[in-house]
Amino acid sequence: MGKRILIVDDSSIMRNMIKKILEAGGHTIAGEAKNGKEGVDLYKSLQPDMVTMDVTMREMDGFASAREIIKYDDDAQIIFLSNLDKEKYGEDAKRIGAKGYVGKRESREILTLIENS
C-alpha cells in the first residue's frame, strides 16, 4: 500500500529524483522541505507516514531535524538518504532512531526499506 512521504533535502534536483523513485513505487509525496527546520514544521502540519532525510543541509542538518521530529512523534518513520559515507554515519542514524540509512548512489534501495518497514 502506498505511503504519504515527506522529502527533506536541500537540493531540488535530488528532491525531484527521490520524488520520481517514490512515485514509481506507488507512494505519494506529502510535501517537500529544503532544510531540517522546514522539515520539522512540515512534519507537524502534514503528519506523513514516512520521511526521507538528507544529512548535510543549511539552517538545520538532518540529524538535528530527525531528533526534533522523533521528540515530537516517537513513532516517526525516518529514512536517511545521503551522500555521506554509510559505514560512518549509518550508526549515528540508528542511534537517533531512524528506520535506515541509504546512500544516494543506491537511492532505489529506499523502496525496499519502505516496503519492509
Binding site: 531540488s12 535530488m14 548535510t56 542538518d61 540529524f63 538535528a64 540508528k94 526499506l113
Partner: protein, 273 residues
C-alpha cells in the same frame, strides 16, 4: 597580512589562537573596492540631488530678480482703473514673492533631506546586500560551494540569494554523486585487476585490455580530481569517503548495539530517552 597570536601563560598546555587583523593599507584597499562597487549608484544619486538642487535654485533666483517684481506689479496695476493705479501698493507683491521664495527654500531643504534618506536606505537595504551577495556568488563561482549567500535582505534580493544557494546545493549534490559513482567504479576496477592478476594463465588477459583498463582508471582519477578541486558545504572527501567536515549535531547520541542490515535497522527504544 597580520596574524595576532594570543598566548596565555599556562606552560605546555598553552592554546594559541590566531586572529587575522588587517593593516591600515588593507583596510584602505577594502574601502576603495567597496567604493568602486558602489560608484555607479553614488553617481546616480549625486546627479539626482544636483538636478533637484539646480531646478529649485534656478526658480528661487528667478523669483528674487527685481525686474520680475516690477513686471508683476505692472501687470496687476494695469487691471485697475487709472485713478486707482496710484493707490496700488507694490510692497505687498514683493512680500508675497519673498514668502514664496522662503517656501521654495524650505521645500528644497525637505526634498534634499528626503533624497539623502532614500539614498541612505537604498545603499543600506539594496546596495550593501547586493555587494555581499556578489562577493559570495563570486566565491561560489570559484568553486567554494561551502559559501552561503546571506539572505537577510529585502524580499526580492532574498529570493535571488536563496536561488543562488539552491544552485550551489544542486551543484554540490551532482558533484558528490559523480564522485561516489567514480569511487565505486574504482573499487570495481581494483577487484577486476586483482582477479586478473591472480589468474595463473596471464595470456587470458590480452595486453590491450590491460592498457584499456589503465586508461579507464586514469579517466576516473581525473574526474575525481576535478570534483576534489571544489570546496563543499560541510563535507570533505578523504580516504575515498565522503565525510562531514563539521560533525552533524548528534553529540548527545548514546551508544547503541549494532544491528544494521541492508540499510535498515530496528528502532531502539532507549536511544531517545
Amino acid at each position: 597580512m597580520n596574524i595576532v597570536e594570543n598566548t596565555t601563560a599556562c606552560g605546555d598546555e598553552c592554546e594559541k589562537s590566531a586572529r587575522y587583523v588587517p593593516n591600515h593599507q588593507e583596510k584602505m584597499m577594502k574601502r576603495f573596492r567597496v567604493f568602486k562597487r558602489r560608484r555607479k549608484s553614488l553617481v546616480y544619486f549625486s546627479l539626482l540631488v544636483l538636478l533637484t538642487f539646480s531646478v529649485g535654485m534656478a526658480f528661487i533666483f528667478r523669483v528674487d530678480k527685481g525686474h520680475l517684481h516690477v513686471r508683476i506689479s505692472e501687470v496687476i496695476a494695469s487691471q485697475f482703473p487709472d485713478h486707482e493705479k496710484n493707490l496700488f501698493d507694490t510692497r505687498e507683491v514683493i512680500q508675497i514673492l519673498e514668502k514664496i521664495q522662503h517656501h521654495m527654500m524650505l521645500v528644497m531643504f525637505i526634498v534634499f533631506l528626503c533624497v539623502t534618506a532614500v539614498m541612505f536606505v537604498f545603499i543600506r537595504n539594496i546596495v550593501r546586500p547586493l555587494d555581499k551577495m556578489s562577493v559570495a556568488a563570486k566565491r561560489m563561482a570559484d568553486g567554494h560551494l561551502d559559501e552561503t549567500v546571506p539572505t537577510q535582505a529585502p524580499y526580492e534580493i532574498c529570493v535571488v540569494g536563496e536561488l543562488i544557494n539552491d544552485l550551489a546545493a544542486n551543484l554540490q549534490e551532482i558533484l558528490l554523486h559523480v564522485w561516489n559513482h567514480a569511487q565505486h567504479t574504482m573499487v570495481l576496477l581494483d577487484q577486476i585487476s586483482k582477479k586478473t592478476r591472480s589468474q595463473s594463465d596471464t595470456s587470458l588477459m590480452p595486453t590491450e585490455i590491460v592498457a584499456d583498463f589503465e586508461c579507464v582508471r586514469q579517466d576516473i582519477e581525473k574526474m575525481q580530481a576535478m570534483v576534489e578541486a571544489f570546496e563543499f558545504y560541510n563535507i570533505k572527501l578523504e580516504k575515498g569517503k565522503v565525510v562531514a567536515s563539521e560533525n552533524p549535531r548528534h553529540s548527545d547520541l548514546k551508544a547503541a548495539p549494532s544491528n544494521l542490515s541492508a540499510g535498515g535497522f530496528q528502532r531502539q527504544g532507549n536511544y531517545n530517552q
